[in-house]
Amino acid sequence: MAINLVNVGKVIGNPQTRILNNINLTIADGEFVSFVGRSGSGKSTLLYLLSSLDIASEGFVEIDGMKVSDLKPDDLYQFRNLKMGFIFQFHYLLAELTALENILMPARKTNQMKQKEGYALDLLNQFGLKGKEKRLPRQLSGGEQQRVAIARALIMKPKYIFADEPTGALDSVNAKIVIDIMTRVNQEQGTTVIMVTHDAGFAQLARKQIHLVDGKIV
């Protein structure tokens, strides 16, 4: 099982602009892949196509053997809930909820709050956030917030982690912590990690790097 892109292209906007052109790519289970390239080269667009949040204009995307465009909405939502974790450049935590409540939001969707609470606390401990589970996002530092967001992405033990410049808003110490977590998750749990970054050093850590220039893989 894997993620497969076949002749994928993407045009958006009016007048239409081409962002991605004829992408063929396979990401096998358990891989740690990084997308690198200049700003505007189409990294984010590619990531969202891979992760079903966006739909290809040309070609098709297959996740675990199923075409994303053929999935029924309900299957798609279940897919995202159980198999995918998202980490964005900005943490996107819900400001009204505590750290623990934020982490448990995906579990809430499928009524697994009780079962997942222990794991959530465990993740908080691992990420150096012990005792801060009741804090609201604004009572946490930027690095802490991003770690809460990562814990939220991991709570359902997803098969895939999609990260769009997860270290973009962090200082180097916090960035290192975040990258370490992702590497560990990949190695210990076999989670497939797909990460967009423009930090060449972090990209090196990935086993596979994909370079994008003007919407094409080079």
Binding site: L97, K109, T110, R152, D164
Partner: protein
Amino acid sequence: MIFLAFRYLFSKKKQTFFTILGIFFGTVAFVGISGLMLGFRGYIIDQLVNNDAHIHIESREEFLSQHSLDQSIKFPALHVFWIQPPSGRKDNALIENPQQWYYRLKSDKRVAAFSGQLTAGVVFSVGKSNVSSSLTGCDPYAQVKVSTISKHVIEGRFEDLATGGNRIAIGEQLQKRLGVHLYQNVLVSLADRPATPFKVVAIYKFGNNNADSQAYSSLADVQKVNNTLNKVNVIAVKLVDFSQASFIAKTWGHFGLEKVESWDEINGSIFNVFAIQDFIRFMSTGSIILVAGFGIFNVLNMTVMQKRKDVAILRSMGYTDGDILQLFFLQGLMVGLMGTMTGLLVGFLVCKYASTLPAVHGPIDSGAGGTMQISFANGIYIQAAILSMMSAIISSIQPARTAEKLTPIEIIRAGAE
């Protein structure tokens, strides 16, 4: 989603409070104004229904026209014309055959009581005071069943009229104008006939000038004075169920020549006033509720804009578009629900308080000098709840639909730039 919707509302206490306040005021206003208006209306109808008979059977007054007499002419000739066409009134102010009506009323189970009356225009005089007014003859035992007169007697006993022999019950106004006291005599004269002395056995007061300037006596005595034995001009009927009056009056109307009118037809104009009142009531409170709904609409739309990123992240976690719709719709619904519930409660308390205040004396005296009559009808509370909730729900639909249609990718793209 109710969990998150609640958190959103709770995190903006002030904004939430003011949005709730709008619906709250609308609901209180509706309950309060309706309670007052319908209470007063109930009081008036109560007076109309209880003080007087439910159905009046009267002789039909017929006005003559050019063709009124056509059938009485033995030789209908088209080429014959009136030099002066018939005009005026066929003076037939009496019910010719009241026995027939009595018989019918007695056998009708829907009739609680009836009383034949003969009212004559007379001049009352005591010493040098002369007052022209009307004297109504009735069976006093029947009369107390069709009207509330016995409750309004302030001196003497209305039923004492029953023994006959020229006894009279007079209204308080008439009593004052004549300067007469209980058990004294009043002279009653009709047209050019000699005056007959009547003895005052009761004095009554309705608090209504017109009614209190008249007098009652036994039917036989008035018939004698009027020289119309065995005849009446009105039969007053009390029904078991007053709400059937207009239906029953309509069927009886086909029986004879007489005019049959129900209490609500006799007081038709008051129902027009009620309709106008209703219009004003719904317009005024409706506009408050409308403005409150608009407040919900604005606040929700603003929240949707502010929470776009939340929508994106929720969608990426597998929350559906339906979940997002719920998230925002529930906020509007909860605001509406809280405003409505508190509004109903406070509206009820306001009404409870108002009902302890002394009554404002209207055109009809409140009799016992009691407190304000406020309606606590369930219908008011149901209508208020429906109006307020409808307003909240309708206001929430569009913002919630907007949020539902947001796609995560657009939000993320916009956020990244």
